[in-house]
Assembly symmetry: C2
Homo-oligomer: 349 residues x 2
DNA sequence: ATCAGGCGGGAAAGCGCTATCTGACTGCGG
DNA sequence: CCGCAGTCAGATAGCGCTTTCCCGCCTGAT
């Protein structure tokens, strides 16, 4: 077994064949004892196989099993950016649930590039994952959208399950977050505690999630009596730096009479807080800020950020359950959200 | 091809066989044209194969390739907690570099449980990944350590590559972070700007990374002239809540004369800031705080947290390069760190 | 003309498994 | 005492690929 040269023995991992030989049984019996089968195996034989496997440190080759069985134990997860707390929280949920189902998660990052996303879906299809979860919305008017839909449908036709998170552009299973209702509720509450004049910082035009949040916010204001001028809707990257930048631009336009800025997600909100501070103002007091998502950090910034809680990890879990055909997950509607008022929006009454 | 019943045609994905038939060539030629080979294929044939593949929307079955080639394109990544910014930043680096090398990353979370870690390593070995990256240190005196080492060594013997991140307990390739030097430098700088009396909040005893940071900090103080009483070293969970809790305990002991609290990582530091604030004090002014890692959020908390920058994403990239035998990565020593002074430690001179 | 030698397509032998099929052996009713 | 159904180990035919190996063909040197 030892190879000449290095002196370090380099042995290929034990195969089922090795185990069978070591145990003195047939390949079939070894397979049956080690990896469940409907058939019964004599207790004596099974024991011998298990011992042999332990002795040889046997570990079944998942690729070979996948080929033979025609099905894998893999879940593919696509996110925009792994380091973004929004996505890493979702990912944590997916991984936790996958682990529970004895599935393995493979992960890739689209970097918010639709072309890359398409490319990744193509590559990951090669794995024949049981499930494919796509998180993070893409521009509504994306030229590759058709191709992506085509690709995903082909994947479903071949037995795979696709689940989208918070994006229903494509006609596929989706874990829907009620962005509209959440933002609407937020707007009402903010008006309720005395705010009247609002501005919004959001992502690029056409980002579904962002658009829903802004629309919901608008609807809430309309109903409750707040105002939001069209040119007080600032667009920038859907990231922390985008939030910082958007806020800076807003402030540069002169103080104006904006009382509260709604950032379409928390990372932008956090960036906005910093921009306000860097401009020499006091966030909360001089300009109130609210976000969306309730990522872990927002309770630790100062002032703690008012936001709409989205149960991110639960969404990840639910996405996987939905893909696996869990009846409950199917039945539930959009994921409920909850307004969380904190110090970044002190009451004005 | 269409199945009766549902009316929805459900077709298995095209196989290489299908492509070969469609193109009117042999399996071998199809394989050679689609997935590189040393051998040349007639341009005319190659074209026909490529067209046929496109027409059938062929996607090579990676499991089958893995079985046939005896090698995969998979990288396995183990982290303690995916939602923790420390790990998600590292993961982002690994994924980015993997993508660059056309490798696929599978990810699992140990939840900081050594038994689970061992279990996961066993499972993931079944994938026969080319590389296995373990991030996050484990207790030095862990009973399963021997078993883990055994498992990893067996994996290496079978041709795999293990890389550890910031933990060198096991005799394996490691991306080492110079925790000691970083903390030492931090201590010197803090003494330099006027601090004298310190406390530390760190993780459970025996956590290598945490221990190195505390030791380094101590060494720096010893050299520069600061003091740190033994009972001013608080231990708690190595998480945000652990930091909060540790700080709370420290404050409950009465104000004392501690000027600056060094938290062994940023998430603890952020928790500590919140604890200070919740106790009615002003972090930075009443009690200064410093952390370690420079995770993205720390520049957005108030006061912005003084810390030691660790290039987390770069570490992830480097881990993979190291595993793949990149000469540069081999040659480089420990990852350098850099002290970043911010408002949480205003000068006292 | 002749033949060595490259070239490149196709047949087929695996890769490590699972699942179907085969057949030896049991036990039981008639 | 025969036959028949029921068990369960073992042989074997795949799964979707890659990679020899074989062999016909064309080239070009002799």
């Amino acid at each position: 077994m030892a190879e000449a040269g290095t002196g370090i023995s380099r042995s290929a991992p034990a195969t089922l064949h090795d185990v069978a030989r070591e145990a003195g049984v047939s390949l079939a019996t070894a397979s049956r004892s080690l990896n469940g089968s409907t058939r019964k195996v004599n207790e004596e034989y099974r024991k011998r196989v298990l011992e042999a496997a332990a002795r040889l440190d046997y570990s079944p080759n998942l690729s070979a099993q996948a080929v033979a069985r025609g099905t894998t134990t893999t879940v593919a997860l696509l996110v925009a950016d792994i380091a973004d707390p929004y996505f890493s929280s979702i990912a944590a949920g997916v991984v936790a649930e996958a682990d529970h189902e004895h599935l393995i998660v493979t992960m890739a990052a689209t970097e918010r590039d639709p072309e890359r996303e398409l490319e990744l879906v193509r590559t990951l299809r090669g794995q024949r994952p049981r499930v494919m979860i796509l998180a993070g919305s893409r521009p509504t008017a994306d030229p590759t959208e058709g191709a992506l839909g085509e690709e995903l449908r082909a994947y479903e036709r071949s037995g795979g399950r696709v689940v989208l998170i918070s994006r229903n552009e494509l006609d596929l299973r989706t874990v829907l977050v009620d962005n509209f209702a959440g933002a609407e509720a937020l707007a009402r509450e903010l008006v309720g505690i005395g705010y009247r004049k609002f501005a919004v910082i959001t992502g690029a035009e056409g980002l579904r999630t962002a658009a829903d949040r802004v629309e919901g916010f608008r609807a809430g204001l309309a109903a409750a009596g707040g105002t939001l001028d069209d040119d007080d809707v600032i667009r920038d990257a859907f990231t922390r730096d985008g939030g910082y930048d958007g806020m800076r631009r807003l402030l540069e336009r002169g103080p104006g009479d904006v009382e509260l800025v709604f950032a379409a997600n928390d990372v932008m909100g956090v960036g906005a807080l910093s921009a306000i501070r860097d401009a020499g103002l006091t966030p909360g007091t001089d300009v109130a800020v609210a976000g969306f998502d309730d990522i872990p950090t927002v309770r630790d910034v100062t002032p703690a950020l008012t936001t709409v809680r989205v149960p991110l990890e639960e969404i990840g879990r639910r996405a996987l359950r939905l893909a696996l055909g869990d009846a409950d997950a199917q039945a539930e509607g959009a994921v409920p959200t909850e307004v969380v008022l904190r110090e970044s929006t002190p009451g004005r009454k």
